[in-house]
């Protein structure tokens, strides 16, 4: 007797929420358009892909081999060899002025060393103002150099940007294995799934509950036999479905338009996305217990989104962050989901590899939701 009435009340809330969603075409439009809009921004604008980076070459060897190396760089679409410098000072000036972003120095004796079969060294100067581009340029330069049996001595000049000393060593294989063409979209689209899932669910849940408080409808609900968990569940489920629709939308646009290959199991991705949603919903609920107006709820929800964007590895690699921020990133559920998400889409990872992240997400979800439900009071303060 108790269970069917519980279910009946949850269904009543759900039915009502669906009517709200259906009758509010503007919000619905935002929910449908926003993911595609963000996908386009992140897929095109926020790109660390390097294409036609201006390059200066200082050839001190003047051999056939040195010319062949320069041609190899020219032939790649990553670099345009626009300048030939005569000496170190000219090379430095080209990079200082920003005319060239990359400088290649081929030392004297390069050709002879290659001919003797030993490892020849060339040096590469990269404008590190934009670390992301520098990083990508370094990898590309190294890959091309290595193809020419030359080990490229990495030397990066920091200009105005942050210290580039923390640039990780080049791992050419990694790039070649998982994203051989180094297309940002392949990296960003899966990450965007995580970010949008979190933004939508946290925001929509928080606003949906706070709206009842703000409009005074919560007071009417308090005197009904509905229990707090029933109310929460009934409110959450419709927005979970909305979030999943948005996720499928991103997957479709990502694979059809941006041609992102999905190497792993889509079912696993959806299942783990559902797990991740527990944390996002918990965040939304926590926000709703703290906020009094819809505006406040939105501000608070955005406040939780910012660290997720910057600290989760969504935009910047965690390994490049100061230690304190690296610890902070461990407290953000999105961090774990991004590993899962990129792992499945890019690397075709299966459950056994992702186990630690899945465990972490489950723990986060349980903790945040418990806290949120405990804080949710079915009384007026």
């Amino acid at each position: 007797m108790r269970i069917p009435s519980t279910l009946g009340r949850i269904l009543a809330i759900m039915r009502k929420e669906f009517i709200h969603i259906r009758r509010d075409p503007r919000t619905l439009a935002i929910v449908i358009i926003m993911p595609v809009f963000q996908l386009i921004i992140f897929g095109y604008a926020v790109t660390s892909d390097i294409k036609h980076l201006p390059m200066a070459v200082l050839d001190q060897d003047h051999s056939v081999a040195s010319r062949r190396l320069a041609d190899a760089y020219r032939a790649s679409s990553y670099f345009d060899v626009d300048f030939y410098a005569q000496n170190d000072r000219e090379l430095a000036r080209l990079i200082d002025s920003g005319q060239a972003r990359v400088g290649l120095t081929i030392p004297p004796g390069y050709g002879d060393q290659l001919a003797r079969g030993s490892v020849a060294e060339v040096s590469m100067i990269i404008d590190g103002s934009d670390p992301t581009i520098a990083n990508a340029a370094l990898s590309a330069a190294a890959a091309i150099g290595q193809a020419h049996s030359a080990s490229v001595a990495q030397k990066v000049m920091a200009r105005s940007g942050p210290a580039v000393a923390a640039l990780p060593g080049v791992n050419v294989e990694t790039r070649v294995w998982y994203n051989p063409n180094m297309i940002s979209a392949n990296y960003m689209v899966p990450a965007l799934i995580g970010l949008i899932l979190q933004t939508l669910t946290a925001l929509l849940t928080a606003v949906a509950i706070v709206r009842e408080r703000e409009q005074g409808t919560l007071e009417g609900l308090i005197v009904t036999p509905i229990r707090a968990p029933e109310l929460i569940l009934g409110k959450i489920v419709p927005y979970v479905l909305v979030a999943f629709t948005a996720m499928l939308e991103i997957l479709l646009v990502g694979t059809l338009w941006f041609k992102v290959p999905i190497n792993g199991s889509v079912t696993l991705l959806l299942a783990l996305a559902a797990l991740f949603l527990l944390s996002s919903l918990g965040i939304g609920l926590l926000v709703s217990t703290a906020a009094h107006t819809q505006q406040e709820a939105m501000m608070l929800a955005f406040f939780t989104i910012l660290p997720s964007v910057f600290l989760s590895g969504f935009m910047f690699p965690i390994s490049a962050m100061p230690q304190v921020l690296q610890w902070a990133s461990k407290a953000i559920p999105l961090t774990y989901f991004l590993v899962i998400d990129r792992g499945i889409v890019l690397k075709g990872n299966s459950m056994d590899i992702l186990q630690p992240q899945v465990t972490a997400l489950a723990a986060f979800g349980a903790a945040i939701l418990t806290l949120a439900v405990a804080r949710f009071r079915k009384r007026l303060e």
Partner: protein, 323 residues
């Protein structure tokens, strides 16, 4: 046994206290309401009426004291109370983007009213609130009076035995107000116990008992007749063209207990109407603010209420308490 049931108060409060940051909204509320009453809670704004209703309806927890509704404790048995009690907050909870029927369906579902019972009950309520022809209209597009009636209907889907209504007719036109009270009277006939707060004194006249709330306490609680009987002396209505001047003159006359102003009418409480009628007429004529008419009237709850509040404030001033 039925004797025992009816003898037991339906709503009972002893020493209820609710504090907010800087104010004590309800300060030791005592109350006992029998089955089948229409109890009216009146009092100036800020007297603590809304908080009192919220405490009794188990929506808010008291800081001290206890309240029982239908014999159940509002702290520990709130969920049990909810099954048999209806509560209509001041700003009721309708979902504007849902239609009249969808709103009723929603509350019926939440209260577990299902199937044939649900249909029968909702059709009945729509007819009862005269909303049948508007059942597919969105709640936001109803007039203020219709919204109140829909809100009432929503709180009645589970056929509660006790109804709490917090200023249900505030901001509603007089005709809708009358209609709303006719509906309440029907409920009363059906045996529902009603607890209504209102700022309108004419509504207090329709209650079986009236509680006057002032600074967090019920200072008077009686039938409207008895309340009217508490007014000191007799009441004269004095019509004049120069209200402020006339008021000052009349108030200074010996034998005048109290003066209240209603538009261009002065309500003057006097010890003896037969003596004071000519005295007032002469005094006003002499001062160049002649009375157009003077009549002896029966006091309404409104005069009784204002008189009570004025006397209470005067006592407080004299004793140097309050503020």
């Amino acid at each position: 046994m039925s004797d025992k049931l009816s003898a037991q108060p339906v709503i009972e409060a002893t020493g209820l206290v609710r504090r907010f940051k800087n104010v004590v909204a309800v300060d030791g509320l005592h109350l006992s309401i029998a089955r089948g009453e229409i109890f009216g809670l009146i009092g100036p704004d800020g007297a603590g009426k809304t908080t009192a209703i919220r405490l009794l309806a188990a929506v808010m927890l008291p800081n001290a004291g206890e309240a029982r509704v239908l014999g159940f404790d509002t702290r520990r048995q709130a969920e049990r109370i909810r099954r048999s009690v209806g509560y209509m907050p001041q700003r009721f909870s309708l979902y504007g983007d849902l239609t009249v029927r969808e709103n009723l369906d929603f509350f019926a579902d939440v209260f577990g009213v299902r199937g044939a019972e649900r249909k029968r009950r909702i059709d009945e309520l729509l007819g009862f609130a005269r909303l049948t022809e508007f059942s597919t209209r969105r709640a936001a597009n109803l007039s203020g009076g219709m919204q109140k009636k829909l809100a009432l209907a929503c709180t009645l889907v589970h056929a509660p035995e006790v109804m709490f209504l917090d200023e249900p007719t505030t901001g509603v036109d007089p005709i809708s107000r009358r209609e709303f009270w006719d509906i309440l009277a029907n409920l009363h006939v059906q045996g529902v116990t009603l607890f209504v707060s209102t700022p309108y004194m004419d509504e207090a006249e329709r209650c079986s008992r009236v509680g006057l709330m002032y600074e967090g306490q019920i200072v008077e609680c009686d039938t409207p007749d008895a309340l009217r009987g508490q007014v000191p002396g007799e009441l004269l209505s004095v019509w004049t063209a120069q209200v402020p001047k006339a008021r000052a003159i009349v108030a200074a006359l010996p034998g005048v207990l109290e003066v209240q102003t209603y538009g261009d009418v002065l309500h003057v409480f006097v010890e003896d109407a037969a003596i004071l009628t000519p005295a007032i007429r002469d005094a006003l004529a002499g001062a160049g603010a002649p009375a157009i008419d003077i009549q002896k009237t029966t006091p309404r709850v409104e005069e009784a209420f204002i008189s009570l509040i004025q006397r209470r404030r005067k006592t407080e001033r004299e004793l140097g308490i309050g503020n």
